[in-house]
Subunit: 425 residues, 2 copies
């Protein structure tokens, strides 16, 4: 299955997957909440029941990974332990318990001519999800798409191919027992790059592409796709420490935003310190961070206060370290902080620590990011922390969805216009 | 100005336009409603005052058009008469009077940890608008983008180049007197195709592309763009006449939807008639339409009832005639009508005429179009008719904006998270 004999056959098969997904999406759009929830619960049950079978397939991927020389961290992310499979099943049950995002009345007006115009939420249609490594994304994404009434075409990394096929197969069999249409959840079984290129051109069938992975993957998707893309790009997040602030609060927030989980997108990569307080604050925060194993990088000004810091290169300011490394810059005022963030940041999560209403207003207004914080750690950018339930990712785009993207963002809307014979004069 | 000596120079100049637009967008995002409205009013005044100058430039385009052999209809669309210039100025004043779409509080929650999460509307940033022929689009689009706090880069058709440059120049001079930042409204003065290709790759600066024009233009934009695109695609609109309906109402709606203004996107191109009533309804509506000069095209079944109808080819079902031509099909039931519409339609505006609650519910739920009508003419798909004020177009896309697209759809949102020292455990 991994490579088809003829590229033409693969192209035809992908085209057929697209058509099948579009047809399934019509059925899903008309499906009741209880049927969708039933499918999700059946899928959860099946994943638990088929744990052993899934793990046999996962073992194939792990063995191949060892042979390919994958890093220990990558092998760890690939492994479907009992706990991880239980977590996936729990995730599906949680999604089943969430409110149905389809059929919400978003607005309703009656025009002077008597026409009633109702704006209602509807599924998007067919969503293509392209991701790397972690096989649990397969089930999480399929569950969220299904709940929002969308068909999904998944394409995972080659190193998890057997695990992904097993998971999709299992979820489909169980779902279909509860009324899931054939084609609602499909996984692309070919690891060729040409398969992704083809998917990205199938705008006749696919309504949205969500890529999840590194910069290279996302760039390639954006360049090739004729289908709208919502990017889940890197997080180059900042905290700016204003001259007027509670140093104790500032220190706790910076430590949390950098150290609590450095490998995630909402951890900070750059700290900006107001020049007026730098002489006092910079050495203090540097000591605290160094004691937690954080490597500090900075320009000449910062190194004036913290001489053992590593000199920062221009690339440091736009780097997503995902590690215990922090670049630090001294800035003259809020405007300079905002300018740095809008220039080097990724529009993800950025914060200010200040007691000044004027400066926080300026920062909150002028920083052009999905989430802008006042006196809190950037680590809260997360669907769960926002009270949205499960999330499909965090959009760094501005169109359709921005920031944590959950069930409502997996829907669109249509207008229903109810008349009694109105014609236009 | 129309063609630069060196393509490299043009590329550099376009890059500089992008950077300037991005910088202007930062200023616009922080601008008060009254300043923006003032700019709009000044622009309106200037266009009226500079009428003669604009018409001199417009005359150059008209003369060149005659020389190129443009059709009478095209020359008519190109002409900036006194009335059309007055209309543009009126449009700007109307936009000034509309509510500011920026700064709306879309939601506000307080989390158990005390974090306040506020979702507010903000400008998108920089919008690229690519359009053909009619020069009034320049001013309409610039006005709407400005009101929503966005910088705009416009690219119009070569046949209106002098008119467009004159209009943009005039609007800019007047706007700047009232505080409009340099770079807020820019027009690409080069008619080379390479300039569009470059614009479509400037994702570093441009946040959204809106193409307005024919199928070829839109296809080319979608294929090249690395920037999100909202398409304003063709309108292949349908009305389905159910077996249970008021024939008199059905006739009035069909005549209005086809004949009142056949050259627009929300006019119908295909009529679907339920088989049960076809023997009675088809000849009746055919006579009515023929008396108004409509050419009818249909399959064998329809021609059984209306023998002088033109045989329809497969291409007829997806054709946007924009003319007094209507294709007609006999269908067995609502499901068949829905299937035809979802297959051949363009997801724009489609309606049903029926007295059955069950069938209208099914139709409204299952038709996958931006606007779905019950017992009304499809001609109402329009920002003005929807009570939105001015519109920038009608989106046939599903992401971000669907159907009539007005000021709120020219904004996005960001989350402001207000804390008092919260960190993540």
């Amino acid at each position: 299955m991994k490579n088809m004999k003829s590229p033409d056959m693969m192209m035809e098969a992908l085209e057929a997957m697209g058509e099948k997904a579009k047809m399934a999406s019509r059925v899903l759009a008309a499906m009741s909440s209880s049927t969708k929830n039933n499918c999700l619960l059946k899928m959860a049950e099946a994943i638990e029941n088929e744990l052993k079978v899934i793990q046999v397939e996962n073992k194939k991927d792990l063995d191949a990974g060892v042979e390919k020389g994958l890093s220990k961290a990558m092998l760890d992310r690939l492994e479907l332990t009992d706990a991880r499979i239980a977590e996936m099943a729990k995730g599906l049950r949680e999604v089943a318990a969430l409110e149905d995002p389809v059929g919400r009345k978003l607005s309703n007006i009656i025009r002077p001519n008597g026409l009633e115009i109702e704006k209602v939420s509807v599924p998007i249609g067919v969503i293509g999800i392209i991701f790397e490594s972690r096989p649990n994304v397969t089930i999480d994404a399929a569950g969220l798409c299904l709940k929002a009434g969308n068909a999904v075409i998944l394409r995972g990394g080659s190193e998890a191919i057997n695990s992904n096929i097993a998971l999709t197969h299992c979820a489909n069999l169980a779902g279909m027992e509860a009324g899931l249409p054939d084609g609602a959840i499909q996984f692309i079984p070919w690891t060729d790059r040409a398969a992704v290129s083809k998917l990205l051109k199938m705008d006749k069938y696919v309504d949205l592409i969500i890529p999840r992975g590194g910069e290279g993957l996302i760039r390639a998707v954006v360049e090739q796709s004729t289908i709208p893309v919502i990017k889940h790009y890197k997080g180059v997040c900042h905290i700016y420490i204003d001259s007027e602030c509670d140093f104790d609060m500032a220190e706790k927030i910076v430590v949390n935003a950098k150290c609590q989980r450095p490998g995630v997108c909402n951890a900070i990569e750059t700290l900006l310190i107001n020049a007026e307080i730098a002489a006092e604050f910079a050495p203090m925060i540097a000591d605290e961070l160094k004691s937690r194993g954080v490597e500090l990088r900075g320009g000449r000004d910062f190194r004036g206060f913290v001489p053992d810091a590593v000199p920062a290169a221009e690339e440091d300011w736009s780097e997503e370290y995902l590690d215990l490394i922090l670049s630090v810059k001294i800035v003259s005022d809020v405007a300079a902080a905002v300018e740095h963030i809008n220039r080097y940041g990724s529009g993800h999560s950025d914060g200010i620590v200040t007691t000044s209403k004027e400066r926080s207003d300026q920062f909150l207004r002028d920083v052009d990011s999905a989430t802008v914080y006042l006196n809190a750690s950037t680590r809260f950018t997360d669907g769960g922390e926002f009270g949205m339930g499960a999330e499909i990712g965090i959009s760094t785009d501005k169109l359709h969805a921005r920031g944590p993207m959950a069930l409502p963002e997996l829907t669109t809307y249509k207008y229903l216009i109810l008349g009694d014979g109105q014609i236009r004069e």
